[in-house]
């Protein structure tokens, strides 16, 4: 059949030229292109790594400086608050120098034989460290507004109370209603101070004064009635031999 053989002959006549030399040339071009692509990818990776390193070297010192300033601010707050003893910020708060280690008294023979007690391991030191850590989070930057300062003073007072040192809460609470008497939370601070003095420090006269101050700061406030009642109770209570005063 002529038409069929014609189709077959055409199919048989087709041949694509693909010589070993052509294959090698294409392979060489492929190698060059792939190598170029690899170099570009490697350069992109190196660029990204350099960008990361540059960014980290830029950001890390600033972050370190930020946290150092924040720690300094905490120490400054604590130093400004009367009655709160804080070591300088450059020194680890709970690790006093070796020279500060109290030597054993010759009068106490039993303590002379005992091993040296590490003050950093005492519960008091631990709680102080924990309070410092909490304060570091709670206290804002030195450039904080008065609004934030009232909050931070409350935070200091709360931290001191949570650490089991209610005496350290007296100063920040006092500072709130003396430095910011116009603040709406001044009466709350005075009332809270009264509670601390009456319930935890057992100082009824000082507590009575604090409750009266709370009543005076907000005579029509929600705490005024309670403050007057607690002041009267404190006046009736027996005065202690000695205690903290606001």
């Amino acid at each position: 059949m002529m038409p069929t053989s014609k189709r077959r002959r055409v199919v048989d006549a087709l041949a694509v030229r693909w010589t070993p030399a052509l294959a090698a040339r294409v392979e060489r071009r492929l190698g060059e292109t792939i190598g170029r692509r690899r170099r570009r990818r490697r350069m992109a990776i190196v660029g990204l790594v350099l960008l990361f390193i540059g960014g980290a070297s830029f950001a890390l010192p600033r972050a370190r400086e930020f946290f150092r300033r924040r720690q300094t601010a905490v120490a400054a707050h604590l130093a400004r608050a009367p009655g709160v003893a804080v070591p300088p910020p450059s020194v680890e708060p709970a690790a006093p120098p070796a020279t500060a280690e109290p030597t054993a008294s010759p009068a106490t023979a039993e303590s002379a034989g005992a091993p040296a007690r590490n003050p950093a391991a005492t519960p008091e030191a631990t709680s102080r460290r924990a309070a410092h850590r909490r304060l570091a989070v709670a206290i804002p930057h030195p450039s904080a507004t008065p609004e934030e300062s009232v909050s931070s003073l409350f935070a200091i007072a709360d931290a001191a109370r949570l650490a089991g040192r209610p005496a350290d809460a007296v100063a920040p609470l006092t500072a709130i209603f003396t430095k910011f008497p116009g603040d709406s939370r001044a009466a709350i601070a005075a009332f809270q101070l009264g509670r601390v003095l009456a319930d935890e420090l057992d100082d009824p006269p000082a507590a009575a004064r604090a409750f009266e101050r709370a009543r005076d700061l907000a005579p029509g406030g929600p705490l005024a009635k309670d403050a007057a009642t607690r002041a009267a109770e404190a006046h009736r209570a027996r005065p202690p031999a000695g205690g903290a005063t606001p």
């Binding site: 014609k6 055409v10 694509v16 030229r17 070993p20 030399a21 294409v26 392979e27 492929l30 792939i34």
Partner: protein, 193 residues
């Protein structure tokens, strides 16, 4: 097939690149090995679709560049050939579409292409091959690819459908559409008798 007058040319037959029996599937595939084994098949496929020898190296290079980037997605050696075939067809179709755009913009352009006709073919077949490919240039690329795979590459219908990424029915429809134009040139096919 008649003797070639230029022995330095390796003429690629449709059988080139077929996996040998017992070709392990699942073995790790290296790019160099894939090129060495399947470059001839890809070149033959692309050459028959495009009809010109001068386009073949560029398309083969593009195909293997794509393959180099995505070779990790091929799971077995056995599926590599079909995968390369699909890439080759996609790249060849892209080139055909551009050729049609150029043909539309320059309709009077003369064909001076290096046709994929065997140099040893008889003198009467050279114009027939030229006529065949000039007619194929008027066929849409998808139909052209399906027809070339079926009639020039002599692939079975299921392979044509797989390579074209369509169903067997669609492949048949495309082949039939191209056949309408080509039958007057080549005469009826063997199955049509």
């Amino acid at each position: 097939m008649p003797e070639t007058t230029r022995p330095r040319l390796a003429l690629v037959s449709p059988e080139a690149g077929r996996p040998a029996s017992g070709d392990g599937s699942g073995a790790a595939i290296s790019f160099d090995e894939a090129y060495a084994r399947h470059a001839g098949y890809v070149a033959g496929l692309v050459g028959r679709i495009l009809g010109r020898n001068d386009d073949v190296p560029d398309v083969v290079q593009d195909v293997f560049l794509i393959a180099h980037r995505r070779l990790h997605s091929v799971r077995s050696q056995g599926s590599l050939r079909a995968w390369l075939g699909r890439i080759a067809i996609r790249e060849a179709s892209r080139r055909l579409r551009w050729r049609r755009v150029r043909l539309f913009l320059q309709p009077a352009r003369t064909i001076e292409a290096d046709l994929v006709a065997d140099d040893g073919a008889k003198a009467d077949l050279q114009p027939l091959v030229a006529l065949l490919y000039s007619t194929l240039d008027r066929v849409p690329p998808r139909e052209r690819v399906a027809w070339v795979l079926r009639h020039l590459q002599e692939e079975p219908l299921d392979t044509v459908a797989e390579l074209c990424g369509c169903s067997i029915a669609t492949a048949k429809r495309r082949i039939a559409a191209a056949e309408l134009l080509l039958r007057p040139i080549l005469g009826p096919g063997e199955g049509d008798e």
